[in-house]
Symmetry: C2
Subunit: 479 residues, 2 copies
């Protein structure tokens, strides 16, 4: 800040706002919070149809907050409010609405308003909206779009939504390697009119292949007459247009990227993915791991119909039921033992709960570690050994405590020994399975999150109960 | 790209590299993958001490890949390789190493090398390293740091690591509202020497209060003679230095931020948090939810000693054990029923597994929704009703299937009816509890992830088994 500044003579064909001389007190920016009170206030104003007051209030809100507000209002109130927005703000707001709210807007807005909104959006957001519209509306809207937007959306619709191509936007700033820095500046200025955020200028050769990039701060450093090829950064991280979004997210995380250029098979620059799209992907992937471990799917939150949700979860529950019936069969094989010592039935839930938990803890560490890349499949032995040492420590404590409880409760030393050692053994097998099943799944190409979780817990049940009842039967023979 | 470009006369005191005229073929950038083969190759070269070959190979790798490589090598090999890096690259690499690998580097590097590395880092990374060093080493290193770095690190060490202050860096570009755009450009140029990424120039008043910002692309649009106050953006999102990192992450996600200015209570600009720090926070928060639901903690992956892991998980397992012993007590109260109809014991695992799963599915949806902000506490009734309708559908299917299995297996119609209706009832209560416990926890200020999960599953066990055994006892009275 203290450095002598450099005079740069500016070209005057750029429109500038008036440099007013009035001395105005500047105040720090304030964020208006959308709380219950504000929601009530809007609701009331909508009822009174106070358009000008509403417009004024909306003007002070960020699009994300307007979206949040509309999501919290009734769908009629939300539609009324949305209709007060211009196409520009409307576009930003609509992408952030709940899917249900958006679905009802598609029905009422009409193709002209919808296409004028979509024309204002970046191509990736535009494509997302068009692809979720009912087929008939989508077709009409697509037809009424501006030609450039239309062709971009049509191109992007070709890609798998969870691939790099499905995430990318067609908007980027690019110049040729033989252009000057000044040309790059001109390109940024031109693109500024339609792009909200610009971080880099990408550099391509005559055939459109990406050969480098230039950050905006670097543009400010170099003489405008320099050729871009001599000042550009050549170590650009890129991703193929077909790369899966999970891998794309990993690149962002690993290399701290703010924007990632996407290339076709021949190296041609075809689009870019920006950091804010990746934040959503990461959240989605994390949620998906959790949902899968609970035997559901991330897609569930999107589905609104109970029947659809039931359809998604039922196969899992029925499979889980079949598996736990096996535990039932094991128990029925030991009916004699149980009948003679009915108190044993009281310890079965403890043994299956604790070994189930132990298995789940081990599995969560592995699933999450494999998914974030903190754990490599090749490291499984180290991880397993680390887990086992922790679990043996816990298994000794749990075994002794439960053994004491069982011994005192039954007033029978041997029952204490059997219960305690069953606890120890089933915790050890649980930890082993919890660590190895995710690794094995990953190796065989399955999703570790889908194979771990309750399936594993149920499987662990069978093992735990078998160990316990076998030991108990042996005990009865001895006594 | 096609626009006429504007001539900007550049000041010549900025050092420029030679504009070489040789025509060189530009090739698309290539990412070298760190695979087993490369790791073997490095391992062999380290054994042979081929310093120059290693240096050449390292030169082609990104810091993130060098870190990945060192993590996969033995700790001696890793140290050897790290010693070949200069302070600049070494600094980038060290922040990305596994904690264990870093801990051994602290021991061997010596305070001079360590402080020369830390001098090159951004203040947030520097602070993270100093705070994890053993106290004695940290003190020595802190003393040998350059004065500016030293005072920045000392300031940042004051903040809670999970607060905005603990995440922020002291490096940012700021000019006064009454400065010219040209002054802002000069500030960016000066800062470029030490800052890797610059996205914005922040604008402060005479007292240091943040009053606006200017994106780099906007700087390129305006005449350098303009006053910054007349062209700046005034709607800047800011966060207080004490805000929790989870809230900070939510701001990034909601407003698609790339950088967030952090202010003190009086509005003074004190630092900035950038998008890449937030990616780590988001991943951490998602993992934490998962770990907590499994009765562990995100801190676990950081801990290497099995004893530490056991200490962290044991209280949870023991509490869970106490809770499942209650299930055992319930069972023992119905010992008579069980002795008379021992086949009932075979259905207990199914009922507790399926109702446990149903509860977990409902809980995961709520925990994740509350945590990402997709579900508001105020919406709980809507969510509960939606969940119930899905669960009733599933409970009818599961109840009928299990009832048929039980009826056929036991050759007794009434047992089928009892088992089937117990399944239906325990699934319904499980879904209710799974939805309401996270909401209630959130309302009471507890972490929904910590109260849901296995505790809930175990609790559900007690209810499921009680329903089942009570119905069975009633049946026996009737028969």
């Amino acid at each position: 800040m203290e450095e002598q500044f450099n005079e740069i003579e500016n070209n005057h064909d750029i429109p500038e706002q008036e440099d007013t001389e009035k001395i105005e007190i500047l105040s720090p920016p304030m964020l208006i919070e959308v709380d219950e009170e504000l929601i009530q206030e809007f609701s009331e104003l909508i009822r009174l149809k106070s358009v000008s007051v509403l417009a004024n209030l909306l003007y002070d809100l960020y699009p994300a907050d307007i979206a949040h507000l509309i999501n919290r209002l009734s769908s009629e109130e939300g539609e009324y409010l949305f209709n007060l927005l211009d196409a520009e703000i409307g576009g930003e707001v609509i992408t952030m609405l709940d899917e249900a709210q958006r679905a009802s807007l598609y029905e009422i807005l009409g193709k002209h308003r919808l296409s004028s909104i979509i024309n204002k959006l970046d191509s990736d957001d535009a494509t997302d909206l068009v692809s979720e519209m009912p087929a008939q509306i989508a077709e009409q809207v697509l037809e009424s779009l501006d030609k450039p937007t239309q062709s971009e959306v049509q191109e992007l619709l070709q890609y798998e939504p969870t691939s790099a191509g499905g995430l990318m936007a067609k908007e980027f700033v690019a110049v040729f390697a033989n252009d000057t820095v000044n040309r790059a500046i001109a390109a940024v200025r031109k693109a500024s009119k339609t792009m909200k955020e610009i971080y880099n200028v990408f550099i391509v050769d005559e055939t459109g292949k990406l050969v480098g990039d230039l950050r905006l701060k670097d543009i400010l450093l170099h003489s405008p007459q320099k050729k871009v090829r001599n000042v550009m950064n050549r170590d650009v991280i890129t991703a193929n247009v077909f790369l899966d979004q999970e891998e794309v997210a990993r690149l962002f995380k690993k290399y701290d990227l703010v924007i990632l250029p996407i290339v076709a098979g021949d190296g041609t620059l075809v689009g870019t993915i920006s950091h804010d799209d990746i934040v959503d992907v990461m959240e989605e992937e994390a949620s998906e791991d959790m949902y899968k471990m609970a035997g559901s799917d991330a897609a569930e939150i999107e589905k609104k119909s109970p029947l659809e949700i039931a359809k998604m979860r039922l196969p899992f529950l029925l499979a889980s039921m079949a598996l736990s019936l096996c535990t039932g069969i094991v128990i029925s094989m030991y009916n004699q033992t149980l009948s003679r010592l009915i108190i044993l039935a009281s310890f079965m839930p403890v043994i299956s709960a604790i070994s189930g938990n132990t298995g789940l803890q081990a599995a969560v560490i592995m699933v999450r570690g494999l998914s974030t890349g903190h754990i490599a499949v090749a490291d499984w032995k180290k991880k397993w050994w680390q887990e086992m040492r922790a679990v043996w420590t816990m298994a000794i404590v749990c075994g002794v405590v439960l053994g004491l409880v069982a011994g005192i409760w039954s007033q029978h030393l041997m029952i204490g020994v059997v219960v305690g050692s069953s606890m120890f053994l089933s915790m050890s097998t649980a930890a082993t399975m919890g660590t190895l099943i995710p690794v094995l799944s990953k190796k065989l190409g399955f999703d570790p999150a889908a194979t771990a979780g309750p399936f594993e817990t149920t499987f662990q049940d069978i093992i735990g109960v078998s160990i316990f009842l076998t030991l108990s039967t042996l005990l009865l023979r001895l006594v």
